[in-house]
């Protein structure tokens, strides 16, 4: 079958049964690529023709998402049967939606997605599901149920941060939260976990301020300075991500408050771990994000090689990542290869 004819086959089959379509395409291309065989026993005919496709649509280039991608790639490469690529959502929902459409049209087997918005990507996820494509979300869940969601343990991790922070403060005092702007689920999870954790473990500690510093170190420096001026008895900061906590560390350094202020972050990026080793940042919740990528890829591989369609799920799968509360005492246990 020539290329044009096979293209014609694609067109004719598109709006009919997708299953029928992919079978026809599979058969067509099976004739084209004679069995260079994968060596696996029982590989379905449609699969023997070529590699299956998987892609990860990230929010925008960032240390976390590139570490996920590295972990995903490590696992998928080993399978020898998967073509994987990383696509950039450019921090725009409409770009992510357009990329989802493209991947659905391409017949991807699995899409890894870090949705910019939980609702905005829901129609695309539903569309992928109708096409039998398994969607796995990373960190930010979507309102449309999908194959699986693999997340850093936002809520329970933040509870443990509250406990560790309270222990360092001796169970009493005032703290402030350097928060993310509202409108995103992980902000609420990381804040609520912290608030509930304090209630549970250290009811004597009071949250005197909760202000947005836009995820940014620079902005957090300004906010922390203002908060310190307004609350002279402030004993500690909780930064909803490490960048903001490090912003508070910068302020503590210039004011000579290192060792006096208890400052916790969240994420566990390399800079934060180094700061803990230097005795500046008190602690953070560390997640091995390479591992998070590997876990997601492992789940995806099992689904794809087991030919489990997206529609087979009774409800959305969920996987919470293990984590460590990294402090001066525990940080050495995090190996160099696990740092991101």
């Amino acid at each position: 079958m020539s290329e044009i004819e096979s293209v014609g086959a694609h067109r004719r089959n598109f709006l009919k049964s997708l299953a029928l379509g992919s079978a026809a395409v599979g058969a067509a291309s099976a004739g084209l690529f004679t069995d260079v065989a994968t060596g696996t026993i029982g590989v379905p005919a449609a699969r023997a023709a070529g590699n299956i496709k998987m892609a990860f649509i990230q929010w925008q280039p960032h240390t976390v998402s590139s570490a996920w991608s590295k972990g995903i790639e490590e696992v998928l490469k080993t399978q020898q049967t998967v073509d994987y690529r990383l696509l950039d959502g450019q921090n725009k929902v409409e770009v992510q939606v357009s990329l989802m459409d493209t991947l659905i049209n391409e017949g991807a087997a699995v899409i890894f997605l870090q949705p910019i918005d939980s609702v905005a990507l829901a129609p695309s996820i539903a569309k992928a599901k109708r096409a039998g494509i398994a969607v796995l979300t990373l960190n930010i869940d979507a309102t449309e149920p999908h194959a699986a969601h693999v997340e850093m343990n936002h809520y329970f991790g933040a509870m443990d941060i509250a406990k560790a922070l309270g222990d360092k403060l001796g169970g009493k005092g005032e703290v402030a939260i350097l928060n993310a702007p509202p409108g995103i689920i992980i902000r609420d999870q990381r804040t609520n976990g912290f608030v509930d954790g304090l209630k549970k473990h250290h009811p004597g500690i009071k949250i005197v301020a909760d202000q947005s510093a836009d995820w940014s170190r620079k902005k957090a420096q300004d906010v922390a300075t203002t908060l310190l001026a307004a609350n002279p008895n402030l004993g500690g900061f909780y930064g909803v991500n490490d960048s903001m906590a490090l912003g508070a560390v910068d302020v503590a350094k210039t004011k000579g408050l290192i060792g006096k202020l208890v400052i916790f972050g969240n994420d566990g990026e390399k800079d934060a771990l180094e700061s803990i080793e230097k005795g500046e940042l008190t602690g953070t919740q560390y997640t091995d994000v390479y591992q998070q990528g590997r876990f997601a890829a492992a789940a995806a591989t099992v689904l794809a090689s087991g030919l489990v369609p997206a529609t087979a799920f009774k409800q959305q799968g969920k996987l919470l990542m293990p984590y460590t509360i990294a402090t001066k005492e525990t940080v050495a246990s995090i190996q160099p290869a696990q740092r991101w």
Binding site: L15, D101, G183
Partner: protein
Amino acid sequence: MTARSATLALLAFFVATLAFFWFAAPRFATAGNIENLMSGFSFVAILAIGQAFPILLRGIDLSIGAIVALAGMVAFDLVLILHWPGWLVIPAAILAATLAGALNGVLIVRLRLQPFIATLATLAAYRGLVYSISGRQLVPGLSTTPIRDPWITGLESYLDIAGTLGLSDLITLPWVPLSFFVMLAVLAGFQFMLGSTRFGRDLYTVGGNVEAARLAGIAVGRVTIVAYALSGFCAGVAALLLVARLTTATEALGTGMEMSAIAAAVIGGVSLSGGIGSLYGPVIGAFLLGTILIGLTLLGISQFVQQILTGGILLAAVAYDRVLFLRRQRRLTANLGEEA
């Protein structure tokens, strides 16, 4: 080269690009892909049509991305907080966008601001306004509530032309998204206005030579305000199509869209030196950009390269526009010389 032959040249280039990807990119030539192109870029085409009006006046509208967000958020609030019916929300959101555009015009005319400065200022102001009226932040829980109003979600529907005509056994045509028809309606209406009404003639005259227009008794100020209002109107229509596609509005919606719209308009032959161009060009320009983005993604080419290439095409278009401008000037001087 006349405006019409420039549009034809652009059309030829567009067809050549389509043909290239048709054969080179896997799964480009599928009904599904053409659907994706139409649904993913019709709103960009509408924004480009709107952008053509200020550019025809030798101006620019940088605020359309923020106006998209504003209209989107107005629709979001009216549906989810005030529970207005969709048939009322649609005109209200478009009205808000049109007023925002008109305000741009008023600032430019009454305060004699450079369009670049005026719309840069409103870009920031409108975006701030979006954050302050954001129902996602005012009412907890709304950030994960999709818009289900049938009038709005109905904008994201598809027409099975082949099926309607009873041709589906013979040929697979893409299902045409409603947004594409909306774009065609906007194009037809405004192109008629530009080509066949007093306002259209005045607009070209003002864009070609403000002083001459003023001496000819044209109300330059009113033409300018209307042109920017039309740009806002188009942003409002595009916003509704986006909200329908995403089932929500976000505060960051439309960020950077002014760049795509300006690029599409300029590639479409609307001269940055004013007074020259039609609305067909911007539409073709928008779909040309879309074709290139989707085609390159299907070819597996990195998105960073795609952005560089888009920039390159824009540069080429601007350079070409400049060459035409200089040639016109030379001809004009030569003619004047002959007369003298």
